[in-house]
Amino acid sequence: MLLIDAKRISFSYQEKQILNNIDFQLYQGDVLSLVGQNGCGKTTLLKILLGLLKSKGSITILSKQIETYSNKELAKLISYVPQMHQTPFDYTVLDVVLMGRLAHIGLFSNFSLKDKKTALNSLEEIGVRHLIDKTFSKLSGGEKQLVLIARALTQEAKIIFMDEPVTGLDYGNQLKLLKLLKELSKKGHTFVKTTHYPDHALYASNKVLMLKNGKILDEGDIYLKLTQQNIKSLYDVDVEIISKENGYKYCIPNV
C-alpha cells in the first residue's frame, strides 16, 4: 500500500537550494534508509515529510494532501524519533513515553488507564519496561533512544521517522537497535531513517534513497542500488560490497 507519495519537492533556505525536485514514495512495511553526505538535505526531507517545514511540490499521505491534516491527525500517522538530545527537566521515562498519547486525547481530558497501558506495552515490546520510573535525562544514550522508540510506538502511528538513530551509541547498542528495527518492521511498522553507515542500511533496510547536493542520485531496492559506484559517487570513498553465504551484504572500505 502506498503511504506517502511526494512529488517534485524543492526547498530553499536563505536563497540556498537544499532540495531540488525530489520524488519520494513510501510503501507499507518498507524500511527506507536516506543516505548522503552531511548537509545533503536528509534531515530537511524528513522534516518536510513530517509537516514541520513547508516546501514546494505536493505531498500526499494516504492519498490526502498533507496540508489538509491537522497536527493531531498527522501525529497519528507519522511519529518522529529525533536525534539524541537533552531534556531540561527531570522527566521520568513514563512521562516521556506518555507524550506519545497527546495526539489521542482532548484538551480537557487527561491520560486514561488505556493510555498508560499502551505506554507500558510499548516499553515492554522494546524491552525497557524496567526503566519506567527512571529519570529520562540520566539514562545512557542507548536507553534514551529505546525509550524514544517506545514513545513512537505509543503514538500508534503507521510510519516512524528516525533521524540518525544510532549516532552516539556504542557498537553493541547500535547493532541491538538495528536488530530491533528489523523485528519491528516484520511486525508491520514502516520506517524511514537517515543514516551515515552503508552497512547499517544494508543490514536493516530494504529500500534506499541516495541524496547528493539536494538531488536524488539513485533510489530503489537496497541490494540493487547501494553499489560500489554509488557509494563512490556519494562519499568519494572506494568500498567493496561483500555477500556472505547467509544472504547478507556488507560494505568494507578499501584503504
Binding site: 513530517l50 514541520l52 497536527n71 493531531k72 538530545h85 507524550m99 495526539a103 484538551l107 487527561n110
Partner: protein, 327 residues
Amino acid sequence: MFLIGLIHLSFFIGKYPISLNEYVQFLKYYFLNETTLTEDKIEVLNNIFFNVRFPRIITAVLIGASLGVAGSTFQAIFVNPLVSPGILGVLAGSSFGAALGLVLSLPWFGVQILTFVFGFCAVLLSITFLFISKRPKSTIILILGGIISSALFTSFLAILKYSSDPYDVLPTIVFWLMGTLSYSDKNTLALVFVPMVFGIVILSFSSKYLNALSLGDEEAKSLGVNVKYIKIYSIFFATLISSLTVVLAGVIGWIGLIIPHITRLLFGADNKIVVPLSAIIGGIFLLSSDMLSRSLFEYEIPIGILTSIVGIFMFIFVFIKAKQTIC
C-alpha cells in the same frame, strides 16, 4: 487538605482574638442556626469574617495559586527553570500602571484598571520584538524583548517615583510595590475571582502539553501538539493572572520563581502535575506568609518582604527533605 486546614486556622489569627470555641459556635450559628454566642458578638464576628478575613484569605490563596501556576507555565514554555512570571515584563508594566494611577490621583478602581492594562501592554511590547526581529520563533528574542520591556517600564516607574510628592504619593507607591494584602476588599475580589480561577484552571488543563513543548517546537509538533496555539494562550492566561495579582495586592515577588521548584522537588518534574500543584502549594505558601505578616509584630509587615524570607526557609527545608528521598 492542608490548604483547607490552613484556611480555617487563618480565620483565628489577627488583631482581634477569636477563640476556638467562638469559631465553632459561629460556624454552628451559620450552618445550624444554634449558638451560645450573644447577638453583639455574632455581629462583630460576622463583620470580621466576611468583610475582613474572608476576602483576605481568598485573596492570598488566589494570588499564591496564580503566581505559582504562571511561574511553572513560563518555566516550561521557556524551557528555563530560572524564569519567573515577570519574564515578559508583566510585573514591571503593572507596577508602572499602578504608580501612574496613584500619581494621577485616580480613584482606586482607575488605578486597578491602569495596573491591568499596562501589565498587558508590557507583554505586548516584548512580543512585538519577535515580529520586528528576523527570527519570529526564537525564544531568546522573546526573553530579550521581555527584559527590554521590563527595563523600559522600570525606568518609567522611576521617573514617576522621582517626580511624585514625597510625603503623600511616593510612600503609597513604595508600599504598594512591596506588596500588601491589606487593601483586599470584597468588590475587587468579586471582579477578578472568575478570570483568575478560569486562568488557573485552563493552564492546569493545558499543562499536559508543556512537557512536550519543553522538548522543542519541532518535537512537540511531531507529537501532535499545536505549538503556536498552546504557546499563545498559555502566555495570554499567565499574563492575565499575573497582572491581576498586582491589581489585588501589588508586586509580590519570589513566589512565581520558587513555588514551581518546591513542587518539582516534592512531586517530580512532570508538568501536568507541577502546574496544578503549584497552585495549591502557592496558595498554602502565601496564606502562611500572610498569617506571619499579620501576627509577627504589632504592625503589619508588607507581604512582599516576608515571602522572600519565608520562601528561603521553605526552600531549604524542601531541599534537605528532597535530598533524603531522591538521592
